[in-house]
């Protein structure tokens, strides 16, 4: 089970929108049931990051992050999504 942390400024709007997109991508790539997404405010993301496999955020990467970071804004604009999708799928395959 991969633990995915999903963050935006308020933890309510864009992370909610991205949550659906990422779930869809993961399910379509055969990862259904193999991940758990937790949404939070970016201000809390660094301190929570130890317990997660990676962070997807619609903000800049926070300082003192203890897990890999994936930029999430592309999922809102639809522009240049491939690098983030590839990175997420690669992180899902890691042990």
């Amino acid at each position: 089970m991969k633990r995915i942390l999903l963050a935006c400024g308020s933890g309510i709007a864009t992370s909610t929108a991205v949550n659906g997109k990422i779930s869809k991508i993961l399910d379509e790539n055969g990862f259904a049931g193999q991940y758990k997404i937790t949404q939070t405010k970016i201000a809390d993301a660094a301190s929570m990051s130890e317990n997660f496999d990676f962070l997807v955020a619609t903000t800049m990467a926070p300082q003192n992050l203890k897990c890999p970071f994936v930029p999430g804004v592309c999922f809102l604009t639809g522009v240049n999504t491939k690098p983030s999708i590839d990175k997420i799928l690669e992180l899902m395959k890691q042990d």
């Binding site: 400024g9 309510i12 659906g20 997109k21 619609t58 903000t59 930029p71 804004v73 639809g78």
Partner: protein, 161 residues
Amino acid sequence: MSELLNSMRIDDSMVIRHLNAVNDQDALDKMANLLLSKGIVKESYVSAVKEREIVYSTGLACEDMGVAIPHTDAKYVNVQAICVGILDEPVQFSHMGTPEVKVDVKIIFMLAIKEPHKQMEFLQALMDIFVQKGKLNLLLETKDEKEVVSILKEYFEDVNI
């Protein structure tokens, strides 16, 4: 999926088709005050949404054009709603996630959100409008506020998540 909009208010009184603003903060001030005048948000929303834009910018360079989705914490909101501002002349917003990048924004979607988890489908549907080529452009070609609302409602009904 018309139920998408059941708990999200949008009507022609919350569309500003000729928004004139000198910069992003001015645009936010005008839109937030419109929401305040309708009792949609608390007075504190106005400064909160403006301050939040400085810390967490919301400009998005979409395929069609630049848009912005200013919003802030649920505690400042009375009624869930979306306010649409179409700018006569674009104003610059900082891009979400990469504030050093500036975006010329033509349409602002100001969100007043109270129950985000119940709004997942609505928010995804809104993002789908941004992603699909030509959809934002149609909003610019409207002749009145009612048409803006009817196009948006149509999009939300068509959306298939």
